[in-house]
């Protein structure tokens, strides 16, 4: 089959580009020669908009960045502002934040695994993942009334307390998640077709991964044990006992596996946080008009997709001078070409799925 090289446009509207990503592919029959991602189809001008809003008003907009993990975005931004303003968050609020952030990681990974499997053709997994995810979203809905763009973390603490009924509910839900995970793993873990399509596909070595700035589960699948929660603990993460799942092959299968393993760790953290939930205030005293002293700060957290950073510069007023977001998907997507080159066209969608990108935070 000697075909001459053809250019193939994947997206911005394509079933498996996870939104409005466009990939300019050069293929020789089925073999991929080049991949050039074109982004910006969802660029909403967030950073410009933030400069015209107060520090408090920015928080709900961060929900719309990585819309699969709204609470993690909240947390990243809020921690940066608190660090800059010198606000000390009560311990109970920190624990509630950990509970919310880890539940969000569960929801995000469930969706990520589902989408990835759906791209490779196992559509039931997506629906199993979403079924389990719905249970987690129920918690958010009960906590603050929203499902997706929750705005559940505020500057200084959290808006609502976890009462006994909600704690009991969270416990039932996280007890049920391993059963859902078992369903998914039965379908995928040892499936010959799944392994054939994922093992040894889209490999990126540890050196290249670090050089490309890859972060999060995708990096840990390449054997680099970099997890901000362990390295530079924030929000009391140092008080919990958890492992950082690590795989060494750096292929699609390992990226899938790391995500699945991380879900068990998240459940572990949530359990510990609920067990040790301290009494006390759920929010520090924050003035109604929050004026942040001049200065600049760059704060990172471990979001479900990878290292999420917020750079905040203040000029002493109630509006930020500049907020810059370092989004994990943006960095991770850069390595796509490295992973795809020489693979088959069918693998591009699988590799893209395994990177777990969200266009909302790539395009901002």
């Amino acid at each position: 089959m000697a075909l001459k090289e053809i250019d193939l446009n994947m997206g911005p509207q394509h079933p498996s580009t996870h939104g409005v990503l466009r990939l300019k592919l050069a293929v020789d029959n089925e073999v991929v020669l080049r991949v050039v991602p074109v982004i910006g189809y969802l660029h909403r001008g967030m950073e410009k908009l933030w400069e015209s809003l107060t520090y408090v008003q920015v928080v709900p907009l961060t929900d719309r960045l990585d819309y699969l993990a709204a609470l993690s975005n909240n947390l990243g931004y809020v921690l940066a502002v608190e660090k800059l303003a010198g606000i000390e968050v009560p311990r109970r609020a920190r624990y509630i934040r950990v509970v919310l952030a880890e539940l969000q990681r569960l929801a995000s990974h469930l969706a990520a695994v589902g989408f990835m499997a759906n791209d490779i053709g196992a559509m039931s997994v997506l629906l199993y993942g979403f079924e389990a995810r719905e249970d987690v979203l129920d918690i958010f809905e009960e906590y603050c009334g929203a499902r997706l763009t929750v705005h559940g973390i505020r500057i200084g603490g959290v808006p609502h307390d976890l009462d006994g009924a909600l704690v009991a509910r969270i416990r039932t839900v996280i007890d049920g998640i391993p059963k859902h995970l078992a369903d998914i793993r039965t379908l995928l873990d040892e499936n010959r077709i799944w392994k054939g399509r994922t093992v040894g596909v889209g490999v990126i070595g540890a050196g290249d991964a670090v050089d490309y700035g890859l972060t999060g589960p995708s990096l840990r699948a390449s054997g680099v044990p970099w997890d901000i929660r362990k390295d530079i603990p924030y929000s009391s993460y140092d008080e919990f006992d958890f492992d950082v799942p690590l795989r060494t092959n750096g292929d699609v299968y390992d990226r899938y596996f790391v995500r699945v393993e991380e879900m068990y760790q998240s459940i572990r953290i949530v359990r510990q946080a609920l067990d040790g939930l301290p009494a006390g205030e759920i929010s520090a005293r924050v003035p109604r008009v929050l004026k942040v002293p001049p200065g600049e700060v760059f704060h990172t957290i471990e979001a479900p997709k990878g290292v999420l950073g917020f750079y905040v510069k203040s000029d002493g007023t109630d509006k930020p001078e500049r907020v810059k977001m370092k989004s994990p998907s943006f960095i991770n997507l850069q390595s796509l070409e490295h992973m795809c080159k020489g693979n088959l066209f069918s693998d591009v969608v699988g590799i893209l799925g395994s990177l777990d990108i969200v266009l909302g935070e790539i395009d901002k």
Binding site: R44, L127, G360
Partner: protein, 167 residues
């Protein structure tokens, strides 16, 4: 509605009822997700809410086979020509549903890069407010669209193709 129905011959009215019955019960959405709302759209198709009950689970990847364009998310100026083109690629009769505040009117983004409402480029039949709308909200929008289709007169459009553009 009643006026035109009285004028229409009985057979045409029956044909209308039959065709609209088929159309409203077989709305195949175009699988196009733009932003946050797309996730809620997928959740609507997933286990808890399941729009398959209405025969709408066949999300078509190709616009040629879709009936309903759910504009789920923020439409940017860069994406707008693509949306317009996809809409034109869809065969008549077709419907559009603006899901979420961004698609309705730009939502929380009054910025340089966001199109302030998808109805500036394509005709929208149903608007579903929310940021994002819950799956229940989307299903309500879809049922509203079903009612709208039930009131339409497809035979008129078949007999007089110009009427389609005045719909």
């Amino acid at each position: 509605m009643t006026e035109s129905l009285e004028k229409a011959p009985f057979l045409l009215a029956r044909a209308d009822a039959f065709i609209t019955w088929a159309q409203k019960n077989s709305l195949w959405p175009f699988g196009s997700g733009l932003a946050c709302c797309a996730i809620e759209m997928i959740a609507t198709a997933a286990a808890r809410f399941d729009i398959a009950r209405f025969g709408m689970e066949l999300f078509r990847a190709s616009p040629r086979q879709a009936d309903l364009f759910i504009v789920a998310g923020t439409v940017t100026n860069k994406m707008a020509p693509v949306i317009r083109r996809l809409w034109e690629q869809m065969p008549d009769p077709k419907w559009a549903l603006a899901m979420g505040n961004c698609a309705i009117g730009g939502g929380p983004f009054p910025t340089y890069s966001v199109l302030q409402g998808v109805d500036k480029i394509i005709p929208v039949d149903v608007y579903v407010a929310g940021c994002p709308p819950t799956p229940q909200g989307l299903i309500h929008g879809l049922m509203t669209l079903q009612e709208k289709i039930a009131r339409s007169h497809p035979t008129k459009e078949i007999l007089d193709p110009d009427a389609r553009h005045n719909r």
